[in-house]
Symmetry: C2
């Protein structure tokens, strides 16, 4: 039986809607009273695992789930050994460099070489500033990254921006976009290659649905 790893949070609702369109019903995960992290789809064809977004690629990499849905941002940051199958065309957001609106910076190229950048995405941030040949110091934070510039610990942040509301509320502005992100269907490479549980057909169906829009 196929197992699909689904991400808690922002992408869950659309992920469930998408899977429903190909006959897999995991809507029980949306019940407010649900405490189960593992359920069978209503037709008994597949199992759903509800895990943190960052853990989706882990379950897929280890083959515990053959399919998973997760944001491109997580894949780009963690570089897991999974097959990128489909751009699902929802969950649009961008990875951006932001600074205090009151700062003199007009571009990341204005940053001094000893500048500090706070981020949850340390690999993405490092890669970006290396590409600029700017040897900044990356400060790893796990939440409320906007406190970096507010407290003065860092000159800038690299963070995921969706509506931009959090930035605005904290007096920050975007200087540059590193990349755009959407939800992705990922697969366990070996399972995909040997087509476990008709994985390839399911993936093709999901690609079609994603193109039309969920």
């Amino acid at each position: 039986m196929l197992t699909v790893a689904l991400p808690k949070g922002e992408l869950l609702k659309n992920s469930i809607r998408l899977l429903q369109s190909v006959g897999l019903d995991f809507s029980a995960f949306l019940d407010s009273g649900n405490r189960q992290l593992q359920i069978l789809d209503a037709s008994g064809q597949a199992k759903g695992l509800l895990v943190r977004a960052q853990d989706v690629p882990v379950y897929v990499e280890y083959g515990q789930a053959q399919l998973g849905i997760v944001g491109y941002d997580v894949l780009r940051e963690k570089q897991p050994q999974v097959a990128h199958l489909v751009d699902l065309q929802f969950g649009y957001c961008r990875m951006s460099v932001a600074v205090k609106a009151s700062s003199p910076y007009k571009s990341p190229l204005d940053f001094s070489p000893h500048c500090r950048i706070a981020s949850k995405y340390v690999n993405c941030a490092r890669e970006y500033f290396q590409s600029l040949d700017l040897p900044v110091e990356i400060v790893p934070l796990s939440g409320s990254v906007e406190l970096g510039p507010i407290t003065g610990m860092s000159e800038a942040i690299v963070d995921l921006v969706s509506t931009g509301r959090t930035l605005r509320e904290n007096g920050l502005i975007e200087l540059e976009t590193l990349y755009h992100s959407t939800a992705r269907l990922i697969g366990h490479p070996l399972s995909y290659r040997i087509n476990t549980g008709n994985l390839c057909e399911l993936s093709a169906k999901l690609r079609e649905v994603a193109l039309v829009g969920v």
Copy 2:
């Protein structure tokens, strides 16, 4: 002015109570309507920063906060360059190895060398199994670690246990304790050495209060 980094979550209430006992009032952080992550204590002597537990040592290491309160588990996992000042004697919990109650294992020494261990505390887990000379594979998860053994992805977990309720609810039992953890007062090494804002006196007062019990 001194800045104190306080951890969101479990340890917040007792941390605030402790600081109140030495005249620093950050109880505004406990108001359900509070959205501020940075406040002045009522007497205007110090600033409080409300951040994720894992980020407390980051703010202290970079000297953005001179003092912080955080669980020993975080310090042990991240090994930040901070001064360990006081064992605050609250927030008792333990780092344990747990397996399915139905498994045949009686001790971690029974694990096979290719065993998988899921954990949020990958460094603690790695260090422990290295001390046993058992070359297990550590699977890094960021939440719901108990799903590791339940789904069969891992034979065991290394996780923080407080009451043991989560383990029981998931049919897991503890095999061994790696170490015990409590809340700790940490300081920025240089600030402590030069006694910024009478840091040493405050730390000594907190040590006295902690000994008596908050």
